[in-house]
């Protein structure tokens, strides 16, 4: 398999993130329990997804800025079959987009769960609401990759 493959999660067959060169630091920081986004080392503008060059000042110098891990739900969907088997096995799961408190234009796709290691369908879909405050939690997937997940600030 090439580096562009989405290898299955060995336990649950959930898809694992397959980092590209620009995205790799995000996942390395996540494995340490830190939510960081790429920012220009010259003009300080944060950017997501990560890329080689700052679209504002064209600098190739970047740093990884730590975020508080707080944000709000910007939107969400409740996917129903047909789905890949590992996702179909968690009916009622959600996918959400979170806008980060410090940088509202930086939005991360994730899942709202009741606890870092809880199933993807562990929150009642009726609890999902655009604007709801959430905080990050980190989940180590069985394949050895850590992903950010999201928990309601007021569960």
């Amino acid at each position: 398999m090439s580096s562009r493959d989405n290898p299955p999660d060995t336990a649950a067959d959930l898809l694992l993130p397959v980092p590209d060169d620009d995205g790799a630091p995000f996942w390395e920081y996540a494995a340490r329990g830190e939510l960081r986004v790429q920012a220009c080392a010259d003009c300080d503008e944060p950017r997501f997804p990560p890329r080689p060059c700052c679209p504002h000042c064209q600098s190739f110098a970047a740093r990884w800025q730590r975020m508080s891990g707080r944000g709000r739900i910007w939107s969400y969907v409740l996917p129903h079959p047909p789905l890949l088997p590992a996702y179909a096995a968690q009916p009622g799961y959600n996918a959400i987009v979170v806008e980060l408190a410090e940088a509202p234009r930086i939005r991360l796709v994730g899942n709202l769960v009741s606890a870092a290691d809880a199933p993807l369908n562990s929150v009642d879909p009726a609890r999902l609401r655009i604007g709801a405050p959430v905080k990050v939690a980190f989940h180590a997937m069985p394949g050895g990759v850590t992903v950010p997940r999201w928990i309601l600030e007021r569960p």
Binding site: W27, P79, V97
Partner: protein
């Protein structure tokens, strides 16, 4: 100001195969059938074809097609990316080539066994550039999920409801019910069917999603002068545009200032700049409808209404025959066939020839758009 595309070229022929959930023939055979039919419609010999254009997702290629149909020496060929966003650009690239003397007779085509073939998102070994790592692990797997996310936000910001999306689905279905070639020809849709349908990705239900179809279509583009000598009434390419907005991210356009201002806005600005006409002059529209929410977003982008007004625009039968803007008069991707939007081009041609199965009286101008939510393209056709 140098050469202009305005009315310099015309669509002289259209052709298609039957549409079905499954057709027995190969994509290559279907492509050849559609292309030969389009050339016959134009009255142009295959040996005169010297240009080809299609989608990067097209699995048949110029070499195989050219030698099968008996094309002559080919001097222009191009493929456009981003799935259904490339539909109108295939015609635009041929128009540009012909208007600048690179070629004389161009064929654009799309052949796809999407009904028989695998669903692209099921392939876990392929990722869209850069975005897959940020979305797919979280179960945001399919185009319906990606657009559903934007649709929910659109509903939240502007008060759009499922009834607005139903208006879109119903208009397309009603037109398909008039079109014997449409997959949904004999299957009417009711509000109750829509409201009780199963979810695909809440807020999108089954009827918010396009069909899965086998079929092929083609059209022939020549100079306006040549078109006037062809078999059919010419349909002129009045204006054409592609659109990739600044800081756009494709169908997962969550990462810029304003995710709800999509490629339609960019394409529209260029389209109208190159035209003698504006949105108020459009008699009938063929708007890319892989998902119903793309219609209100496109209505805003192409200037038929203001920002946030696209859902309300669909009210009161506006998209039906006799309404403000009759939509997708062959049934569209939602109810005729989903072949990456190429059937919207051929239906636009039929409207301007006066031969649609849901003819808008005296239609003289037609907007055709490609996929919104991905780098897109559009054509303004006139008779």
């Amino acid at each position: 100001m140098g050469a202009t595309l305005k009315d310099a070229t015309a669509i002289a022929g259209i052709g298609q195969t039957p549409f079905a959930r499954q057709l027995p023939e190969s994509e290559r055979t279907l492509a050849c059938r559609a292309i030969v039919a389009a050339l016959d419609d134009a009255g142009i010999a295959p040996s005169e074809v010297d240009a080809f254009a299609s989608y990067t997702m097209e699995e048949t290629d110029e070499v195989e097609i050219a030698k099968a149909i008996g094309a002559g020496d080919v001097t222009h060929f191009s493929k456009v990316g981003y799935g259904g966003g490339g539909s109108c650009a295939t015609v635009a690239h041929l128009a540009a080539a012909i208007a600048t003397g690179q070629a004389h007779v161009g064929v654009a085509w799309r052949s796809r066994k999407r009904g028989s073939g695998p669903r692209p998102w099921k392939n876990t070994r392929v990722q869209l550039p850069t975005s897959g790592q940020w979305t797919r692990p979280f179960g945001l797997l399919r185009p319906a999920d990606e657009i559903g996310m934007l649709a929910r936000r659109y509903m939240h910001e502007y008060g759009a409801t499922r009834d607005h999306f139903f208006n879109v689905a119903l208009a397309c279905r009603n037109r398909a019910n008039q079109n014997p070639a449409a997959i949904m020809y004999d299957r009417p849709l009711t509000r109750e069917m829509y409201m009780t349908a199963r979810w695909i990705s809440d807020p999108l239900c089954l009827f918010d999603n396009c069909l899965e179809t086998d079929g092929a279509l083609a059209c022939v583009v020549v100079s306006a002068e040549r078109a006037r000598d062809c078999r059919q009434r010419p349909v002129y390419v009045h204006s054409a545009a592609q659109g990739l907005p600044a800081q756009h991210h494709g169908m997962v356009n969550y990462w810029n200032d304003d995710p709800l201002t999509g490629p339609a806005w960019t394409a529209a600005r260029h389209l109208w700049k190159g035209a003698d006409l504006g949105p108020q002059d459009v008699d009938v529209a063929q708007i890319y409808d892989a998902f119903t929410p793309l219609i209100p977003l496109s209505l805003e982008g192409y200037g038929f209404c203001g920002r946030g007004e696209g859902a309300a625009f669909t009210e009161g039968g506006a998209l039906e025959i006799g309404g403000r803007l009759p939509l997708n008069t062959g049934g569209g991707g939602l109810s005729e066939a989903y072949v990456h939007g190429f059937n919207l081009i051929t239906e636009g041609v039929r409207q301007l020839r006066g031969t649609s199965t849901a003819q808008v009286p005296d239609a003289a101008t037609c907007l055709v758009t490609a996929g919104e939510g991905v780098p897109t393209s559009a054509l303004l056709l006139r008779s």
